[in-house]
């Protein structure tokens, strides 16, 4: 059994709006162990992004606490990398400079920085685009840069908030396979939010299902680990066990229709 990396206990969050206090989430307890990929699927507005932002340290929980390696989270930090749903790479940096940014901040020597960037450019199939600016890339390419940037900074935990929601369906399949491979080869702790059941089951070692707003964790399902090198969609769709898990998650999510 691996050590607990992220422990969320008694978490509840409220937003202050013009019409008063709005409850964003119900009470949530989640533990993410080192090296596992946990996916969270839930209806829109259930508070899944709120939970992720709290783990990232962008918002302070109204109630409860969040521990990372046993220490309370008090703000964003480089040990918790984030891949956002909207485009968060910097338009004024080239692909190479975007990917290297975290290493620059950490004052990693140039030679080592270049090696890491080269490796990730290869892993994310960005060869030939190193010196382009983000506006010159397709949506899928930009998200690849965002993923590579986060991985390059080498955080302990990677938080991903529907990173592929805005790319077209074909590209999404490729990106999901690439991400699966990246997770399998780098053994990172990953927390991945989505509203796609298939995506959650495909990528997760464990799938959490959330209720509708104010969301709580409704169910937790283990998914058998893929072999070395991650999954691919062909074998995934052909696998009866995977289909059964997907169906089960689908039923759980379906009951939460808004």
């Amino acid at each position: 059994m691996s050590a607990d990396k992220i422990v969320v206990s008694g978490f509840r969050h409220f937003f202050q709006s013009d019409s008063g206090r709005v409850q964003a989430t119900g009470e949530i307890d989640v533990t993410i162990r080192e090296g596992e990929v946990v996916t969270l699927v839930g209806p829109s507005g259930c508070g899944k992004t709120t939970l992720l932002k709290a783990i990232a340290g962008f918002i302070t929980p109204s109630e409860g606490q969040i521990l990372c390696d046993g220490k309370p989270v008090r703000g964003p930090g480089r040990e918790r990398g984030v891949v956002f749903q909207e485009l968060a790479i910097l338009p004024w940096r080239t692909v190479r400079k975007n990917i290297a940014h975290g290493l620059e901040i950490a004052h990693v020597p140039k030679a080592e920085r270049d090696r890491t960037v080269e490796r990730l450019i290869g892993l994310m199939s960005l060869n030939g685009f190193e010196d382009r600016y983000p506006h010159e890339l397709s949506g899928g390419m930009r998200q690849r840069v965002a993923v590579a940037r986060t991985w390059a900074a080498d955080p302990d935990v990677i938080l991903m908030d529907e990173p592929f929601a805005a790319v077209d369906a074909m590209t999404r399949l490729t990106l999901q396979e690439e991400l699966g491979r990246l997770c399998a080869t780098t053994h990172k702790t990953v927390f991945f939010i989505t509203h796609s059941v298939e995506e959650a089951v495909f990528l997760g070692d464990r799938v959490l299902v959330m209720t509708k707003r104010p969301g709580t964790i409704k169910a937790m399902l283990d998914v058998p680990r893929p072999g070395k090198g991650g999954r691919d969609w062909d074998s995934f769709t052909g696998d009866p066990e995977m289909r059964a898990i997907s169906e089960q998650v689908m039923h759980l999510v379906h009951a939460e229709r808004v």
Partner: protein, 260 residues
């Protein structure tokens, strides 16, 4: 190929149309030269001024004051804009003051400022600063507030601190608005400069125009106006546009004009 050349020449077309209309009007109506001079008169006067001595000195004097005043306004406007843009309470504190003083034209201060600073470059610098500062300040604050928060969050989760987010996110993110402020600031800076030179200088294009008005020389006035407009256009094309091409256009934040 033809298309590209046509696009390059397009900016010159309005000027040619105006010149042509001027020529047609002048040929038909034949107005007295002190009301509207002919193109030829203006060109001749321009040549006389250029070769006869004072023009080069006037241009240098005006440009020096303009660049000094605009640079001063830009630097102070950006610094104040960054402080107000990054700290909300500071912005709330200073906003009423900025709105208040922004409404008061430099000309209003003129009689007082002549007493304080005397007649000379300090006066021109103050008047230009008084217009440029507010434009740059407000554009900088707006630019900073419009930088998407997610960009900053991204850098913070890469381990970037306050200074790193200002340097790598806020500054380049606000640049399109700052540059747009610089563009308006240069234009309004010219206006303030000429006003300052009319009353408080012995050299400069404002004085050249003032001397023209004293002797009812419409040709000098129009030549001065054309010269100011032309210098402003050249500065925009050769100073500001290249900076934009290398930054905000290159980054895809602002669409490039097709002619460039």
């Amino acid at each position: 190929m033809m298309g590209r050349i046509a696009w390059k020449l397009l900016p010159a077309a309005p000027a040619l149309i105006v010149l042509f209309a001027w020529w047609v009007y002048w040929t038909i109506v034949q107005p007295p030269p002190s009301v509207i001079p002919s193109i030829l008169d203006v060109v001749r006067t321009g040549a006389e001024l250029a070769f006869g001595g004072r023009l080069a000195g006037d241009i240098v004097a005006s440009m020096g004051r303009l660049l000094g005043g605009v640079a001063f306004g830009m630097v102070t406007g950006m610094i104040a804009g960054f402080i107000a843009g990054l700290w909300r309470p500071v912005a709330d504190f200073f906003n009423p003051l900025v709105v208040f003083f922004n409404a008061i034209s430099g000309i209003v201060w003129l009689p007082l400022v002549i007493g304080w600073l005397g007649v000379g470059n300090a006066l021109a610098t103050f008047l230009i600063w008084n217009t440029v500062f507010f434009i740059i300040f407000q554009n900088t604050v707006l630019g900073i507030q419009l930088v998407p928060e997610v960009l900053e969050q991204g850098v913070r989760s890469l381990g970037g601190g306050r200074w790193e987010t200002i340097r790598s996110v806020t500054l380049p993110g606000a640049l399109p608005y700052i540059l747009s402020g610089v563009r308006s600031g240069l234009g309004f800076g010219w206006r303030a400069l000429i006003a300052a030179e009319l009353v408080g200088a012995t050299t400069g294009l404002g004085q050249l125009i003032f001397s023209g008005s004293e002797y009812h020389r419409a040709d000098i006035i129009i030549f001065g106006a054309l010269l100011i407009g032309a210098i402003a256009m050249l500065m925009d094309r050769w100073l500001l546009a290249p900076i934009e091409r290398r930054t905000v256009v290159r980054w895809g934040l602002v669409a490039a004009s097709r002619g460039r």
